[in-house]
């Protein structure tokens, strides 16, 4: 199953474009005023009905009635059909309760702007409660999509055709199949042909002629589309012919084998993705905790602040969700960094050399930040919109796809990591940070203003936490508890990797991530996590200073 929904959207858009042009030409002929029928459609079925009449049947509650109406509408030979079906999908066909008719409608400042479904001429407004969008359910959606796909088969755009064809795969409605065959002859685009063939072969499975069936099976055995597997399985259940049985089993075995490989690939990807999340969550801590030796229990809350910043930015720029994240990143960095510096100046400053006490103080801070968020944003979760370029998945084949948001986040995490690395290695600040973390007195003696460096370092660590928040907002709740759910894992990662060693953090994050995902299938989510924790505990026994031990204030104690 691919991303049906987005596919449909794309298809619909194209169709609208193509169809609107006709609509304009034909408008003059179609200026019949909207008339309403009191008779129940049931009796009317026989007589030819105007589009408006057919639409009015959609006022019925029963979905069977609605389906009948939709099919009727689809049969109409009118350029309005496609736009109206789309409107139905988009919930832009509204049921006007005042005169019990259906019309196009857009909600604007608490009122419905009603348009005539045929002429698209405005026919006045009613208040928001007097009209309701026509309710459709999954069954109707499938019907509509198939109808639309049917139309789309003859679109000029090859992608649209391909998607349409795929939508129709596994559909055994005869006239759909005939439509496919028809298209097949004139089709030249390879991708479309492939989809159509799949669809036709699946249909061929239920033909009466054994050889056609065997051929179909043979060709299908190279196809990973889930529908294929389903129909092969179905066939296997029904067939009596031994030769066919054998062929089917062979084909299925072959398909399963391939699916197997892709699933392992999946698991690895999941592991990497989880790893990248851990990395993002932990990397800020690797600075504040690893380099400065501050056990920052408020780290999670700094991530949370980043997430909320994303939310606020999206609220401020309501109609630019595509690129608002790019603004959110620096914003989140600043917000968290400033808060971080604030914490450093007013709390942690007094506690250097007493790492275990920074833990207590920052724990207090985390409580305050959490409650502050509850008071300001309410304890409810906040919606963070995922931009289109981040939603959906990169379809490598029907059984193996990489979800975009995770893909981006993996790269993002690595980018942040490398950025930080270069910052510490190359820049003057980085040098000073390392100097101070090694030996503050000497550093001071060398004229480094360790006060300032500390503040900046902590700010940096916190800022990165903020950035992580932006990324995590794409994956999980944006709520007051966001931080808590990551703080412990972050500490595990940093400690496991070896305090004060960024590479350690990287390895640890991905190592734990993948380990977790490998365990999950056999042990289940919870047990996997427990096992990983136990592993960490035992590992620390073996190597009391983590994967890559490193000297530094935290390591000293």
């Amino acid at each position: 199953m691919g991303d049906t929904f987005s596919r449909i959207l794309a298809a619909c858009l194209l169709i609208m474009l193509t169809s609107l042009s006709w609509a304009e030409e034909l408008l003059p002929e179609e200026t019949a005023p909207p008339q309403t029928t009191e008779e129940t459609p049931a009796e009317e079925i026989a007589a030819p009905l105007s589009i408006q009449d057919i639409l009015n049947q959609l006022t019925e509650r029963s979905f069977d009635m609605k389906e009948a109406a939709i099919r009727q509408l689809a049969e109409q030979d009118s350029p309005r059909v496609i736009p109206l079906l789309n409107a139905l999908m988009e919930r832009e066909l509204v049921h006007n309760r005042e005169n019990d008719t259906i019309s196009l409608g857009h909600k604007a400042d608490g009122e419905w702007q009603l348009l005539d479904p045929v002429s698209e001429q405005p026919i006045g407004t009613v208040n928001s409660r007097a009209a309701r969008p026509v309710v459709i359910n999954n069954r109707l959606r499938t019907v509509i999509n198939n109808q639309l796909a049917l139309f789309a088969l003859n679109s000029d755009n090859s992608d649209a055709r391909a998607e349409a064809a795929e939508q129709l795969i596994g559909n055994d409605d005869p006239d759909m199949l005939s439509a496919l065959r028809l298209r097949r002859e004139s089709e030249d685009n390879a991708r479309v042909i492939e989809q159509i063939d799949t669809a036709l072969n699946i249909a061929a499975l239920s033909s009466d002629d054994l050889t056609t069936r065997l051929n179909a099976i043979d060709t299908l055995s190279r196809n990973l589309h889930p529908e294929v597997k389903n129909s092969l399985n179905d066939r296997l259940r029904n067939t009596e012919v031994d030769a066919e049985k054998v062929a089917l089993e062979k084909a299925l075995a072959r398909i399963d084998a391939r699916i197997e490989n892709f699933q392992t690939a999946d698991t690895i990807f999941f592991g990497l993705s989880l790893g990248s999340v851990l990395l993002l969550a932990a990397i800020g801590l690797a600075i504040t905790f690893g380099v400065m030796g501050v056990i920052n229990m408020a780290h999670g809350e700094l991530i949370m602040l980043g997430a909320y910043t994303t939310y606020v930015v999206q609220q401020l720029l309501p109609n630019s969700n595509e690129w608002s994240l790019l603004i959110a990143l620096p914003a989140a960095f600043l917000v968290s960094a400033v808060v971080g510096i604030f914490i450093e100046r007013f709390v942690i400053r007094f506690l250097y050399g007493r790492p275990l006490e920074t833990l207590l103080a920052t724990f207090g801070v985390s409580l305050i930040l959490q409650q502050a968020v509850r008071v300001i944003f309410s304890p409810l979760n906040r919606t963070v919109i995922t931009p289109d370029w981040m939603s959906g998945a990169l379809q490598i084949n029907p059984v193996f796809s990489l979800t975009y948001n995770r893909l981006y986040i993996i790269f993002f995490a690595l980018a942040v990591f490398l950025g930080l690395l270069t910052l510490l290695k190359k820049t003057r600040l980085g040098l000073q940070v390392r100097a101070v973390s090694q030996n503050r007195t000497t550093a001071r003696a060398l004229g480094i203003r360790s006060e300032r460096v500390n503040a900046l370092t902590f700010g940096l660590g916190s800022g990165i936490a903020g950035i992580a928040g932006v990324a995590l907002a794409q994956l999980t709740n944006v709520g007051p508890n966001l931080g808590q759910s990551y703080i412990i894992d972050s500490f595990m990662v940093v400690v496991f990797g070896g305090v004060g060693n960024l590479w350690g953090t990287l390895t640890a994050a991905f190592g734990l991530g993948i380990a977790n995902k490998l365990l999950e299938p056999m042990a289940g989510a919870v047990l996997a996590k427990i096992l990983v924790l136990i592993f960490i505990i035992l590992f620390i026994q073996r190597k009391p200073r983590g994967l890559f031990p490193q000297r530094g204030r935290a390591a000293e104690e």
Binding site: M1, G2, D3, T4, F5, F63, R91, R129, V135, N137, N138, R139, R141, N145, P226, K229, N230, S231, N233, D234, I259, Q263, D266, T267, F270, L274, V277, Q371, R374, S378, P379, L380, N381, R382, T383, V384, I385, T386, S391, G392, A393, V399, T403, Y404, R406, Q474, L475, T476, N477, G479, P480, N481, Q484, S485, K517, E520, P521, G524, A525, V526
Partner: protein, 432 residues
Amino acid sequence: MSFSKSMKKLAAGVVASSAIVYSGAVMAADTIKVGVLHSLSGTMAISESTLKDTVLMMIEEQNKKGGVMGKKLEPVVVDPASNWPLFAEKTRELITKEGVDVIFGCWTSVSRKSVLPVVEELNGLLFYPVQYEGEESSKNVFYTGAAPNQQAIPAVDYLLNDLGVKRFVLAGTDYVYPRTTNKILEAYLKAKGIPEKDIMINYTPFGHSDWQSIVSDVKSFGSQGKKTAVVSTINGDANVPFYKELGNQGISAEDIPVVAFSVGEEELSGIDTAPLVGHLAAWNYFQSVYNDANEAFIDQWHGFTGDKKRVTNDPMEATYIGFNMWVKAVEKAKSTDTDKVADAMIGIQTPNLTGGMAVMNENHHLSKPVLIGEIQDDGQFAVVWETDGLVKGDAWSDFLPGSKDLISDWTAPIKCGNYNTKTKSCGGAAAE
């Protein structure tokens, strides 16, 4: 007072003594105190703080109408901070120290379980507004949320009959409500002839955030030829990442519909619902239900919170019903005394927000309609199916071996929360 002294000497019997504590506490009061026991901090604040506001709104409304029996209602809000032992402690505080006459509160099962012994001991009155696993009926508790047979069973029926689903994934958070519900559903599905191998059960920890593997498992489980659906009892926080993952892995409602029992308007308000259109939820109430009572309620809510975007949800309706029923019962009993009110409660009818009447049954559970809604892109649900009449809440599930013979009936002559119809005896401690 000599009476109470002698009583004290006589009865170490707790009920008695605390009844005195109780009456003694309220004697002075010229207002009626209403306890509000919902977490305002900690993990559950997300869901519970809304209900706190709801109760406060109802009280304000009632006071505008002149209170109850001429007395003003006085809310007493405490914060059990999502900490279960604290729930018990705060209940004790509310009843003995504050001397409240009724408590509206709790969300999670564990919080209710922790409060239960205390209200029974001190003979308090608790209204519990959340759908739950059933298998309980206390003299002192009224359950205004859905029992499994008012949510899970109808939903599964809808999947079986209307969508022709043949394979089921029962995915839930690992705690008692999903466990029990899934046990019930499993038994029910088997009874309906669904074979073991077509039922996949999966549990995840609270706040589970990484759903990749599980969703992809569901995906492959669903691509086996038969129509598949997910029945989700996943708890609040974990839903956002779950649905996000669904959307991203391209599981659309047409392919594998997900019907959820813990996802309402409020949970959706934290999600970008565009990719989720068509997924289902089963409740006794949806904000989108069209009738005057509901519209009025919604307006009132927007007015109270001063936020036009705030949504309403099922537990709010349950609170609404519970509160109105309590008011009616008190006026009927002409007293706030627990026992009198508890007796008066049974049989009380108040309008619910879906255009019908809610009835309190002898087993302290409500009769409610069951609605199934599909998620829309505006974060609301569109009702696609509903039961013809009201469904009576069943305290003890008929699909669990332990409880098939148990019923609850708080009217004479049985007066028992777990009456065994086989042995004709009131088993367990709920007897007295």
